[in-house]
């Protein structure tokens, strides 16, 4: 059994980089026994990162309308909300991949999605001040989850 923290996102799309930034800052703070993974590709390949015996925390930006700290979702207990608008017929979102894993019995033992409220996803956008503030609180949340 491994504990795995996965940072999802796109470094070039504004607040979508939040999950990656959290992972970058968390790495030196986590015990060596925790595996950290940057995931920037198709959601489907998330299924290669874990086994049903693992303990997984996915950190990703989530669309938000106001300020606030991270949102936690126990994805083993409840499905994530469906995609608002799929971007491609040839790619799965993280939520889609989690539901596929549920269908084939490949969910990890524990799967917590940590959503960082995000506001701007434009190409080349800087990180918004609100999301930057939320990153600090997210670091503590994830550290608590793996402790």
């Amino acid at each position: 059994m491994s504990t795995i923290v996965v940072g999802l996102g796109n470094a070039w799309r504004g607040d979508d980089a939040a999950g990656l930034l959290v992972l970058e800052r968390l790495r030196p703070l986590l015990p060596d026994s925790v595996r950290t993974v940057v995931h920037e590709g198709d959601g489907l390949s998330l299924l290669d990162l874990w086994t049903p015996e693992d303990d997984v925390i996915l950190v990703d930006a989530v669309l938000a309308s106001g300020r606030g700290g991270p949102v936690l979702h126990d994805a083993r207990a409840r499905p994530l909300p469906p995609d608002v608008q799929p971007l491609s017929g040839h790619a799965l979102s993280a939520a889609g991949a989690i539901e596929l894993a549920r269908g084939i019995g490949w969910l990890p033992r524990r799967l917590i999605v940590v959503g960082i409220p995000a506001h701007s996803f434009g190409t080349g956008d800087p990180l918004s001040a609100e999301t930057n503030d939320a990153i600090e609180e997210t670091l503590e949340t994830v550290r608590h989850l793996v402790s």
Binding site: G41, S45, P86, G89, H90, I104
Partner: protein, 410 residues
């Protein structure tokens, strides 16, 4: 998709592609000829290898270079990986749910977990080939004009063999499974166009051949293929000059190159209910499964015979010239043409992807298909149309399941 019905006749079908142009041909101008493989790979996350292969062949044609031996074999091996990845994704995650009446692969997985799990395992083998030869699974970084930056060691490729042997059994089972699906009674009389090589089932090389007599070198592509902008779509439509629309992709490859498949694969295709020619686009899922099996066997053959090249690339010196390349992307022929200046910079570029070439045929198919199924309620008609579009595995972000069908009946 907009369908206009007058009485019991379909007057018009228009597939509207809203995705905006991305101007790749424009942004290639002024870039060094060595940059084209990596820039064009970014056109598609599903078939980046195809873009890299067509780009390097076009550049090598312009520079008067021919690549053979293990470098050529590695290119075929890389393509095997991409076909496996792309075809399995399409078969198991996109097309099979249509045939079995599921809204998506996520729903299908609940009832067929074993099949989906094995398909994902098969796809992963394809990913492994691309990562081993190309440097990473998506948007490979190891391809260069003239060859590769680094050639894998024999032991690297041998590491893929156990997975490929397991993949062979999965691919055979996948072919058997999709052959049991129920296929609508529907055939096309379209002109199929694919590469044809003297000895091989085509990936990278050959002449452009059709089922109705076309037989031209790749360099003559633009003399025969006309691309035009139509008012209702942001994607260019293509047709053959003085001949009309044409059909590219697995069905075209299979129909033109059935005799180039190894005897064992031909037997398995026959056992799956396919003849040497397949004109029902709905059976493209079975043909894709045949091609997956072929790609697995071909990968094993290449690895078995592989000896690393002394040098992973041949030197390519640019010259002011024009070169064309055409390779078989999973979805069909992908054409690149570049004009180089004396400084090795790209003066002009043209890229014709397979989905663009199939658009007119998709509309024609849908017109005939809808006409035969007009009695269906709109929701069922939509489902059938999604399935019909999916036959072509169109590489557009609005492809099926996001389809908004607008039937205007008068």
């Amino acid at each position: 998709m907009k369908i206009k019905v007058l009485g019991n006749r379909v007057a018009d079908v228009k597939l509207r592609i809203y995705e905006p142009p991305r101007f790749f041909e424009g942004l290639l101008r002024g870039r060094h000829f060595t940059e084209a493989p990596d820039i064009t790979a970014r056109i598609c996350g599903i078939c980046p290898v195809a873009y890299q292969m067509s780009a390097i062949h076009a550049m090598e044609a312009a520079c008067g270079v021919e690549v053979d031996g293990p470098i050529r074999d590695l290119r075929r091996l890389l393509y095997c990986g991409e076909w496996i990845e792309s075809h399995v994704l399409h078969i198991a995650m996109l097309h099979a749910p249509d045939f079995l009446g599921y809204a998506s692969a996520l729903d299908m997985a609940k009832d067929h977990p074993e099949t989906v799990t094995r398909a994902l395992q098969l796809k992963k083998i394809g990913n492994g080939i691309v990562a081993c030869v190309g440097g990473r699974e998506i948007h490979p970084v190891n391809v260069r004009v003239g060859g590769f930056y680094r050639a894998p060691a024999k032991r690297d490729l041998l590491g893929l063999v156990p997975g490929l042997e397991a993949a062979h059994e999965i691919a055979r089972d996948l072919l058997k499974w999709v052959s049991t699906f129920s296929f609508p009674d529907f055939e096309t009389d379209a002109e199929f166009v694919a590469l044809r090589h003297p000895d091989e089932y085509p990936f990278n090389e050959g002449r452009l051949v059709s089922t109705k007599g076309l037989d031209i070198p790749v360099a003559d592509f633009e003399k025969h293929v006309i691309e035009e902008h139509v008012a209702h779509s942001n994607a260019l439509h293509a047709h053959l000059a003085e001949r009309g629309p044409y059909f590219v992709g697995p069905l075209a490859r299979y129909n033109i190159n059935f005799d180039r498949l190894p005897a064992g694969i031909r037997t398995q295709a026959s056992d799956a209910g396919l003849g040497s020619t397949v004109k029902n686009p709905f059976k493209s899922i079975v043909v894709r499964a045949v091609e997956v099996l072929y790609a697995v066997e071909e990968a094993l053959r290449i690895i078995r015979d592989y000896e690393p090249p002394v040098r992973p690339f041949v030197e390519v010196t640019p010259r002011p010239a024009t070169g064309a390349g055409c390779t078989e992307a999973p979805r069909g022929i992908l054409y690149h043409r570049y004009r180089l200046g004396p400084d090795g910079l790209i003066a002009d570029a043209r890229i014709v992807p397979p989905t663009s070439q199939n658009q007119k045929i998709i509309e024609d198919d849908l017109k005939r298909f809808v006409e035969a199924h007009l009695a269906l309620p709109d929701d069922q008609l939509t489902l059938r149309c999604e399935q019909a579009i999916r036959n072509y595995d169109p590489c557009i972000s609005c492809a099926t399941h996001f389809l908004k069908l607008d039937v205007e009946r008068e």
